[in-house]
Structures are given as C-alpha cells and as structure tokens.
C-alpha cells in the first residue's frame, strides 16, 4: 500500500525519530551492538528512493536535497548507534517498565532540570567525606588511634575546603556567597546546610591545624602554640564530629526538598544513602591511612556504611515504581551499579584483607570511589527524571486518577488532593 518515494520516506523518518528517541531516555539493558551502519544504510536507501518519485522532478534542487537528506540520515544513524532496536520493530526486547501513556507539550519537560553542575555532585561526596572523616578522627582521638585521628582530621579539612570551593563555584554569582548568611530558614535545607557548614567548617579546620602541633618547634611562641593546640584540637575535633552527622545527612534533604521527581520521592532513603556513603568514605580514608592494627574501627565503619548505602540504593532503585527507572537506566544506572560493585568489593577487601596494608588501601580506595559513584549516580538520576515529562506527568496523573476513582467525581474537574 505504501508507495515508494517521499511519503514512505517521511513516514519512515518519523518512525525512526520516534525510535531514536529511545536514546533520549535512559535504557534498561546494556547497549547491544546495534545496526548502526545498517540503519544508516537503510535510511540512505530510502532517501535515495525519494528522488524517484514522479512528483520530485526538480532539476537544480534535487542534488541539494540529496545532500541534505544524506546528512540527516547520518545524524540519525549516529543517534541510532546508541539505541536498542526499535520497539515492536520485529522482536526487540520489552521494556521492563511498561511504556506509560501520557500527554505533554511537544514532549518538552515540565520541570526545569537542576542547574547544578557536576560540582554539586562532587560536593555531595566531599561533604560526606568530611563528615565521615571527622567521625573517624573523633573516634581515633577518643580511642587513641592517632593515625585515624590525624588522617581523619586532615582529610576533613581538605574535604570541607573542597566543599566550600565546589559550593561557591557553582553559584551564579560567587561573589555573593555571603548572602547565604542573611537568613536562617528551616524550610531551606541549603540555608540549614550553610549554618551547619558554618559550625562544622571552623571546627574541622581548627582540629586539622592542631595536627600541626607535632611539627612545631618546642620553644618560643610557636612552642607555646604547639602546647596549646592539642587540647584545642581535641575540643574542635569533638565539635566537628558532633556536627558531622548533620553535615552528612542534610544533603539528602537538600536533594529531596525539590520538585525533581526521583529525588523528592526518594526522600526517606536519600539521607540513609548519604549517611552510609559518608561513613564508607570516612572508613575508606581510615583504611588508606592507618596501619592494619589501627584500622579495625574503619573496617567496621565500612561495613556499617556500606550496609546503609546498599540498602538505601536498593530501595530507591526498586521502591519508587516509574520514578526508580532513572536510577536504573543510562548513565545514572551505570554509575550506581559500578558504585555497588565497588562498595561490595571494598567491604570484602576490608574484611578479608585485614592484615594487608595494600589490600586495606585498595579497599579504602574502592570505598571512596564507590562513594563518588553513588553520589553522582543519585545526582544524575534525579536530573534525568526532571528532564523527561514522563516522570512528572505519569505519577501525578495516576494520583489524580486514583483520587477520581476513589471519590467518584466527574472526570473533568480538578480535585483536591488527598493528603
């Protein structure tokens, strides 16, 4: 029925565009070697056949058109390179989450995707690392494990400094960072975070500076400082440790208290994941820095942290229905899967290689890397959920429909939500 020529050409182009849309969205399965060249070639043929249509008897323009379409088909081919075979196009595999029907405005997102760049994801890691390190340091300080203490305090300072850099750098107007101190708003996790950081940062800084006591000369003004520092560092270290859990977990609220669907709906889990991730990364520092003899608490921290992290991550990847999808598909899915592997490996290494400094260090590195990957995975999972109107419309529509059925109201009326 379908004749050759522009008609079929246009139809196929459209179908292909629809299919290619698959790569706008994260994928369930690993990329399979796709028929990139085949698809391009096929579409090329189709375009060429377009020129044979009797209505296309143009003279001067036809070659131009050929160029144009050829270029476009190349683009299409390039896009198809990263996609699965199209659905229903002859036995491609099913999506795990059934395609939800919904309407949208030209497929455009309803929400604005977060404008935060990678540095906020990095801050999620460094903030957690600082918190975990401070806890580690405080533990070391209180239980007489100087290696843990020193490593923890120094790492905490480095991490919190990096955090500050990341945070200020991400501002649209970095010179106005101090405007954060204008108000104190419990409704704003970022405001709360600012004040937490304001408390934690100096404490962690002083605690780390106190570590310089060992290298200061014994006499003179510096000697005096050298003698005064350890007790000051002691107090500061405890203060830092006291605020550290807040520092580690508020970021969960920071992400959850947004309209980003996959962040918001994950609000029960995000603090858990971030707490676990912070512990694991702190433990990682311990494993890296401390001799096996002192590293026992770090290993136990690693286990606890990993448990929290894996539990939380598993929950967000399964509990949220459609909104779990962004965490499983595409780049966020890959990040989280890799993070999970490294976490598991890190914990296993920490437990099994407890006598080996090298294995310990590797495990620590793995845990740190896992923490980084988890943070980026969670971050970009949310970003992906904001960019596709599906994740905004479908759950809300389901909510409306459920209410409508529940309340048996006429279909076209807006309905007050059930809380």
């Amino acid at each position: 029925m379908t004749p050759p020529g522009p008609v079929g050409d246009r139809f196929r182009r459209f179908r292909e565009r629809l299919a290619a849309e698959g790569d706008d969205r994260p994928q369930v399965s690993d990329d399979r070697p796709s028929a990139t060249s085949g698809a391009a070639a096929t579409s090329g043929e189709e375009f060429a056949s377009g020129g044979d249509h009797p209505s296309d008897r143009g003279t001067a323009a036809s070659s131009r058109r050929g160029d144009l379409t050829a270029r476009r088909s190349t683009e299409a081919g390039g896009r198809q390179g990263r996609r699965r075979r199209r659905r229903g196009g002859g036995g491609g595999e099913e999506l795990r989450v059934p395609e939800a029907e919904f309407t949208s405005y030209y497929g455009r997102p309803i929400l604005k995707g977060p404008v935060w760049k990678w540095d906020i994801a990095a801050y999620l890691f460094t903030g957690g690392l600082a918190a975990g390190s401070s806890l580690l340091a405080a533990g070391g300080q209180l239980t007489g494990r100087p290696a843990l203490r020193r490593a923890g305090r120094v790492t905490a300072l480095a991490a919190v400094s990096a955090s500050a850099v990341f945070l200020v750098k991400d501002l649209g107007r970095p010179a106005r960072f101090h405007h954060m101190l204008r108000v104190a708003k419990p409704t704003s996790p970022m405001s709360m975070g600012t004040w937490i950081l304001t408390a934690y940062g100096p404490a962690a800084g002083v605690a780390a500076i106190a570590e310089a006591a060992g290298v200061l000369p014994r006499h003179g003004l510096l000697g005096l400082a050298g003698r005064a520092l350890p007790p000051i560092g002691h107090v500061a270290g405890l203060l830092a440790a006291g605020t550290a859990p807040a520092l580690a977990t508020y970021t969960g609220v920071l992400l959850a208290d947004t309209a980003v669907p996959s962040w918001h709906e994950a609000y029960p889990e995000l603090p858990v994941i971030f707490a676990g991730s912070a512990l694991a990364s702190g433990a990682g520092v311990g494993l890296l820095a401390a001799p096996p003899a002192q590293a026992g608490p770090a290993r136990r921290m690693a286990v606890a942290g990993a448990a929290l992290e894996l539990y939380g991550a598993h929950r967000v990847e399964t509990r949220l229905g459609l909104l779990s999808e962004p965490y499983r598909l595409g780049r966020p899915g890959r990040l989280l899967r890799a993070g999970r592997l490294l976490t598991a490996g890190g914990v296993a290494g920490a437990l099994l290689g407890r006598r080996s400094r090298v294995v310990g260090a590797l495990s620590g590195t793995a845990l740190l890397a896992a923490s980084v990957l988890t943070r980026f995975g969670i971050f970009y999972g949310g970003v992906a959920s904001a960019r596709d109107p599906r994740y905004t419309v479908v759950p809300q529509r389901e909510r409306v429909e459920a209410r409508r059925i529940g309340m048996d109201l006429p279909s076209d009326r807006a309905v007050p939500p059930t809380v």
Binding site: R10, S55, G58, T59, A60, A61, S62, R64, R65
Partner: protein
C-alpha cells in the same frame, strides 16, 4: 482580525461574550478562527461567489429588510433597457470594448439617463484609478430616476439583482469556493437572522479583499448584502475596513496619491480638465443631488490654501499651476518606468517596496536603475541596501560596482519624536504629543519637506521661468520652533482645517467654504478639526467620562461624525427602527435631528421634506434620502457608474488560478490593468495551456508578531524572536504529496521568482474540493526580507503585477506556484530554475495573456 488587529478584536470578543456569533472566512485557520464560532475555509480569490451566494439566499427567501431597501436603496430604480447582464454575456456586461479592455457604461445607466456616463470607454478612468475618488462620495448620477416601488418591474434593480445572482446557489458556492453547502447555509442563515429592525450585523474586511484584481467588487458585494439587510448607517452594522497602517486613511484623505488631491478632489487630467470650471463641473456634476454641489468651494479653497495671495478669482486661483495627469502614473507603472530608465529620482518615505510591494525583483531592479534614491526610515531597510545585499546581487543581476543609483539614507523621527495627527481606520483623527527630541540626524517628514521646500525656493528665487512660479508663489511660511527649527504641526493642521482669509479665523464646518476666494482650506473633509482655534484631534476625554460613542475623543471626519449615513438608523419618518438600535432620530418638537452622534443630515430638514422638481445639490436631497453623498441620495445595490468592471459584482477567477471559472466563460476580470513588460509575467490559468506547471494556490498575509514589510518589527528584538524565520504553512496532505518535512525546507516557484522557507506542516490548512479537483493552498507571511535581526526570503517576490481596474491595487493575495522540498538554488542557478519553469509553462514575459477567454459566441455578446 485577531491576527492583524488584535486590539480591535477585543470588541469582537466583547460581542461574543454577549452572545454574538462570529464567522471567519479565510483560506487558513488563523488565530481569529480559533475563537470564532464557525470557520469556513475558502479558496483564495473566490469571495464574490460566497457573498453572491448570500445575496441569492437573501433574495430567494425574501429575507431583505424590505422597508429599508425600498426607501433607502436604489432597489426600485429602473435600469436602461440597453443593459445586458453577465448571465447573458458569459461573464460580460453590455458595453465591453475589447480594444481597450474596458466598458462603455451607457447601457448601465438608469432609464432615461443613458447619455450621462459620458461617451466612449473608461480606460482613462482606469488609468487614473478614479474609483478612489468615491471614498467620500458616490459617482455621478442624475438625481431624478424612474422607480417602481412594487419592485416588480423586470428592469428594476431588485429584479436585475435577483437574476444576476440566481446561479450563485449553495451548490455553486461549494463548487467555486470549496465551502461545503452546510457551512455556507449556516453562515447565510445566521447573517440574515441577525439583521433587520432589531438586530444589525457587521462585516469586517481587510486587504484580503482589496488586494485582488476584482477587489472593489468584493467590497461591493459586501455592501449589497449590508444594504439588503438594512445594516448600513446603523449602530453595530456597516462594512468595516480594517486598514493596516497608522495613518493610511489619512494618507488617502490627504492623499500622497497621484490621482487625488486633498478631500478626494481629483488631480486634473490634461484632456478632461483643461480649465478650472471644467475641473469643478466634472466633480460636482451640475444637476446632481447631494453635497458635492459645493465642489467649487472646496476646490477654490484648496487652491487658495496652496497659493494664498497669488490665487485670485481672476486667475482661477492659480489652477494653471496644477500638474496634469495623462494616464496611469501609479506606483507599479513607475517601477516599470524605472526599469526602463525613464525615472531619475525616487523618494521612499517610511515605505519598503523591496519587500512590501508585489514583484520584489521588479522593485529592486527599478531602484537599481535610478540616478538617485532618497530613503527616509527609522532603520536601514532592504530598499536602501538592495545594491549591496539584495537577492539580485547573489544572482548577478545587480553588481554593486556597476549600479549607478546614488542612495541617500536619511534617518527619520519616530512617532514619539514629533507631533501630528494620525487618521485611524474609522476616520478618527488623533493628535500625538511629542515626547522627546529625535536622535542624531533623525528628523520628521515635516522638517524634511519644509526645509527641502525652503531650499528649493531659495535656489529658484531668481528664476524667471513660469514653471517655477508655482513653487515661488506657494504659501510656505510655517512657523518653526526648537533647536532643530521644527515646523509647527499645529499651524499645518490649522491650514488643513481651513480659515477665513480675511480674519484668519479657523473655519468650523465645510459649509463655510466659499468659492470666492474668501476661504482657504487644505482638506475640506477635515474642516472642523481645528474649529474655534482648538485642536479637536487632541481631545482626550476619558472613556469613563463620556457615553459609548465617545464623541469627545479625537475628531472624526466629516464633522466629528462617528457613523456615516446615520440618518439610516431611523426609519423614513425619522423614528428609530427599534429602541435597541436607536442612534439618530428626528425630534419633531424641536424640529431637528438628534441622537448620540452628530446626525449625518441637514439638522433641521424634516423627514417629510420633498425637493421641488429640478432641485439639485443639497436642496435635492429628500427628507428620507439618507445617503447624502450619493447623486440620488440612495444606497446603491446597483452601480450605474463609478465602478469600471461592472454595475454588479461578478465572480471572476483570480488572474492566476488552477481552476476554470465555473460560472462564466470569462475566466478573470476582463478589465483588469495589465502591464506587458519584460520583467512582468502571469502564470498561465485555464483555458490557457500549462496551468498545471503551477498547481498550487498560495496566499500571503500578516502575522500578529510582525508589521508589513518588517522594518518596524524584524528590527525589534522582542518581536523578532517571536517569529524568527520565514516559513510556509502546508496541509498534511500537501506535505505527503510533495514530501515536505515539518521544519524542513521547501522552496516555492512562480513565473517571477523562487523563494525558500521553513515548512510548518499544520492541520490548520486543508485541501479543498473544487470542481471535483483537490486544490491545495499554502500560506506565507510576507514580512521577511534580507535586513534586520531576522531575515528570510520575501513572499511578495512571487507575485507578478496585475491590478484592479478601479483603484489600481495589485492582486497580491492569491497566486499560483509550485512547491518543492529542499532549499532553493543560489546564484545564477536560481534564475535558471525560474527560466525553466517559464519555459515549461509557456510564459512569454512581456506579453499579456488574452483578457477575453470566452468563445466567439460569448465574445460577440460581450461586445454587443
């Protein structure tokens, strides 16, 4: 209307809120259609068939407002027995002269007046666009005419009308326009049901009607319907032209037009008006009824305003100074003359013909062949840079190094940088206060022309030549003020209004005009705008502080009258037709006309007044003749003269049409103005061969976001970003047929040009079934050009030049083309493509297609 006049459209929405039903007829579904109650897609250029169908519906079902029609129109008037209709002439009325392609109108006259149209053909009238003179008054006709008040006489206008439109059936409407019968009937039914004693209906049109080779007759058809339904001169009724430029009405009233002088006085013609008296008599037509009887006063007062003390009764008020027309000196003739090297200089005053006029290539080639060009505009427009950036530079037709045109670009002052009046679309003059000084070298036109005139007069001060007297005797002494020596606009307005020469007192009414040289009036229809020395156009009494007629906001010509012919809002006895629709009525106690508006009638002439036999002028107007500017005081269903292409509207196909005229053997308007010039051509239409080379109909119009040729919108970022690219709207069906992709490129080819545009595939366009054929129409905005923030090819390049015979306005609302996917060729290949199409279509540039397309039999009848 929502597209091009959104703020005016608020009143339509207001009416809709109160229950009015809005119909929208347009080739494409627009923003107006979106809120209309019914949308009728129509094949571009077939409106007379649609409106004729409505006329037939009214007459067939006797739905006319009979009392109104009998008393106020010429329905009962009996027409000469020499008249024969298009129904008998296969598309020709009697009197066609194939030699000149015009009509001899003798046979169209009322019975007993056969000689009154003058003799011979009307080619001269066509060349001087004499139809424009009738913007303020009807054509000449004798006041006394035979009537049959029973409307039964076979030659009375009513019966002629009935016969003429008998074939405009719903089936025919569908066959011609592509409008399904159901929808046509819905329109006809609603229109007639909402007219009459208690209700009125309004008809709104724009250049979608005027820019056709039969444009004037489109509007005539609308006017016939509105007269039949009693919708003229009444509140909520009328035929409303929505004009497109801030003072385009003003520039017709005070014309910068070759064939007119202020107040619709005709520019003298060398053959017809050698002397002042002949000139005046040709206007006032001695013996005719109505207000034109005073034409002599208006004419003398104008010349007095021009030449002041030098103008005396003895020298016919310097009538000898006036230049004389010899034929067509219109803008399209000028452009062709430019190409032929006959014109040396050209002023462009806030106008951009390189984009805005039909056949853009001809416009640009013409400008490239001048000695000098003066462009006055706010922005560097395409018409100033054609030698540098025009498409002809790309094709090699214009080589900057070889183009001799000397170009002066003079920056103009914007509307806030000068004061003066605009006349808007309802004849309302509104004064603008000046807000700031113009920047840099920018100056108002007032400044430019005043000081240019001053310089010219200085340069010629010692000239002994008689030809220079007109310039030297000119009153040119307007006071100036401010650092830039800006002439006083108020003093000019005062001269326009007119004044008593002896005392300098501003006149308050054109009734004060005298033919003895004691009054000077720049534009008699504007007299009263400066009454009592007060700038009436500057009145801005808030709408909250006055009634709905808002008579104290600005000033409307004539005499601050808001609805013309409003005597018709009362019945013959002077009582309102209905309480709901009362507007102006006779107050018997006071013995005067009164109402919400200024009565358009002699204030104290009672409804019972009947003129004595032989009375002419205003005296000849009876107390129940509301159309006081018409020679017989009646609204004209049938126009015995004044309209060159027929006393009644007839459906002719557009000059370029893919369809053979289903109604008559005559395909297109036989009297249209054609130009045989090598640069001009017309795509073939049936019955000519090869019309299938250009199978698609295209039409152009405005977008809300842009203004005309784009100089005032493509240069303004908040507007440019809203419609940033040239595009063509196509139906999904055509997209399939031609392989066009949404947002891809397409190019359109006519016999003149090829342009490219992005494709918008949209459900808003639909193919139409016409004569069992599928007709595809595409739509283009005409705003784009090659300068400004956003650029694109100009849709007007596609058009050739064919004009309406009455007013010499071009057919630029419909044409035929081919649509092809992809981008257009560039450089010389572009010309090759056009040439290839011309060859395939058998176009022979420089030769007109035959105007007469009937077979020999039809021709015979047409010529008989």
């Amino acid at each position: 209307m929502a597209e091009a006049h959104p703020v005016g459209f608020q009143w339509v929405m207001e009416a809709k809120r109160r229950g009015a039903k809005v119909f929208h007829v347009d080739p494409r579904f627009t923003r107006t259609s979106a809120v209309a109650d019914s949308y009728l897609p129509i094949r571009a250029g077939t409106d007379i068939a649609l409106l004729g169908g409505v006329v037939r519906y009214i007459l067939d079902n006797e739905l006319d407002f009979r009392e109104y029609v009998l008393s106020y129109t010429n329905a009962a008037t009996i027409v000469s027995e020499e008249f024969s209709d298009t129904e008998d002439g296969d598309g020709f009325f009697s009197g066609f002269d194939p030699e000149t392609g015009t009509y001899v109108q003798d046979s169209w006259q009322y019975e007993g007046n056969e000689g009154s149209s003058g003799s011979g053909h009307t080619a001269k009238e066509r060349d001087s666009a004499s139809g424009l003179e009738h913007e303020s008054h009807g054509a000449q006709v004798d006041g006394d005419t035979p009537r049959d008040e029973t409307l039964q006489h076979p030659r009375c206008v009513y019966q002629i009308l009935k016969r003429h439109f008998a074939r405009y059936t719903p089936e025919m409407v569908e066959r011609v326009c592509g409008i399904p019968q159901d929808k046509f009937l819905e329109l006809a039914e609603a229109w007639t049901r909402n007219s009459g004693r208690e209700r009125t209906g309004m008809l709104i049109y724009s250049v979608g009607w005027t820019q056709h080779s039969v444009g004037v007759q489109y509007i005539r058809t609308g006017a016939i319907i509105q007269l039949l339904l009693g919708n003229m001169g009444r509140p909520g009724g009328g035929v409303m032209a929505l004009r497109g430029h801030a003072s385009i009405q003003g520039s017709t009233d005070i014309p910068t037009l070759f064939n007119l002088l202020p107040g619709y006085l005709p520019m003298p013609h060398h053959a017809d008006h050698p002397t002042f008296d002949e000139w005046v008599d040709s206007i006032r037509h001695p013996g005719q009824k109505g207000f034109w009887g005073n034409a002599g006063s208006f004419a003398a007062s104008l010349l007095k305003a021009y030449w002041g003390d030098a103008a005396t009764p003895e020298n016919d008020y310097c009538y000898g100074y006036m230049p004389r027309m010899t034929g067509d000196h219109g803008t399209y003739q000028q452009v062709l003359n430019m190409i032929d090297g006959k014109i040396k200089g050209y002023f462009l005053l806030g106008q951009n013909p390189a984009v805005g006029s039909a056949h853009g290539r001809a416009q640009r080639l013409g400008m490239a062949n001048l000695d000098w060009l003066v462009v006055r505009d706010l922005f560097m427009i395409e018409s100033a840079t054609f030698w540098q950036n025009g498409p002809e530079v790309a094709t090699g037709e214009i080589v900057p190094e070889e183009c001799r045109t000397e170009v002066f670009f003079l920056p103009a002052a914007s509307h806030v940088e000068k004061e003066g009046t605009f006349t808007q679309t309802q004849r309302l003059l509104q004064w603008r206060e000046k807000a700031v000084e113009p920047p840099g070298d920018a100056r108002s036109e007032l400044w430019f022309f005043y000081h240019l005139g001053r310089k010219l007069r200085e340069k010629l001060a010692d000239s002994p030549l008689p030809r220079d007297r007109a310039l030297l005797d000119l009153t040119w002494d307007y006071p100036t003020h401010g650092p830039l020596a800006e002439p006083s606009a108020e003093s000019v307005l005062r001269e326009i209004n007119g004044y008593d020469v002896a005392t300098g007192r501003p006149l308050s009414s054109f009734a004060e005009a005298r033919a003895d040289g004691s009054t000077a009036i720049g534009c008699w229809i504007y007299t009263g705008v400066y009454a009592d020395g007060v700038n009436q156009a500057a009145r801005r009494k808030s709408r909250h502080e006055q009634d709905w007629v808002a008579a104290e906001w600005g000033w409307a010509w004539p005499a601050n009258r808001r609805i013309l012919y409003n005597r018709a809002s009362a019945d013959p006895d002077g009582n309102p037709w209905s309480e709901r629709k009362r507007y102006v009525w006779w107050d018997a106690e006071k013995g005067e006309w009164t109402g919400y508006d200024v009565p358009d009638f002699e204030k104290t002439k009672p409804p019972s007044y009947r003129p004595p036999p032989g009375a002419s002028g205003t005296e000849g107007i009876a107390g129940d003749d509301p159309f006081i500017m018409q020679g017989d005081g009646k609204g004209w269903l049938y126009a015995p003269s004044g309209v060159l292409d027929g006393p009644l509207p007839t459906h002719y196909e557009p000059v370029e049409s893919p369809v053979r005229n289903p109604l008559y053997g005559q395909q297109a308007n036989p009297t249209r103005k054609m130009y045989a010039h090598p640069v001009n051509s017309v795509n073939p239409s049936p019955p000519e061969q090869h019309s299938q080379v250009f199978p698609y109909v295209f039409t152009v119009s405005r977008l809300t976001e842009h203004h005309t040729a784009g100089a005032m919108s493509r240069t303004v970022s908040p507007l440019a970003e809203l419609q940033p690219e040239m595009f063509v709207e196509v139906s999904p069906e055509l997209a399939v047929e031609r392989g066009l992709a949404h947002l891809g490129w397409a190019h359109l080819v006519s016999g003149r040009a090829v342009i490219e545009a992005k494709v918008l595939v949209t459900d808003r366009l639909t193919p139409l079934r016409v004569e069992d054929r599928l007709i595809h129409q595409v739509w283009l905005p005409y705003h784009f050009g090659f300068e400004g923030l956003v650029t694109g090819d100009s849709a007007n390049d596609l058009f050739g030049i064919s004009l309406d015979p009455n007013v010499l306005i071009q057919e630029s609302k419909v044409g035929t083309c081919d649509v092809r996917p992809g981008r257009r060729p560039t450089g010389p290949a572009l010309l090759d493509l056009v040439a290839d199409y011309q060859r395939r279509a058998g176009i022979n540039p420089g030769h007109n297609a035959p105007a007469v397309t009937t077979d020999s039999e039809g021709k015979e009848q047409g010529a008989s």
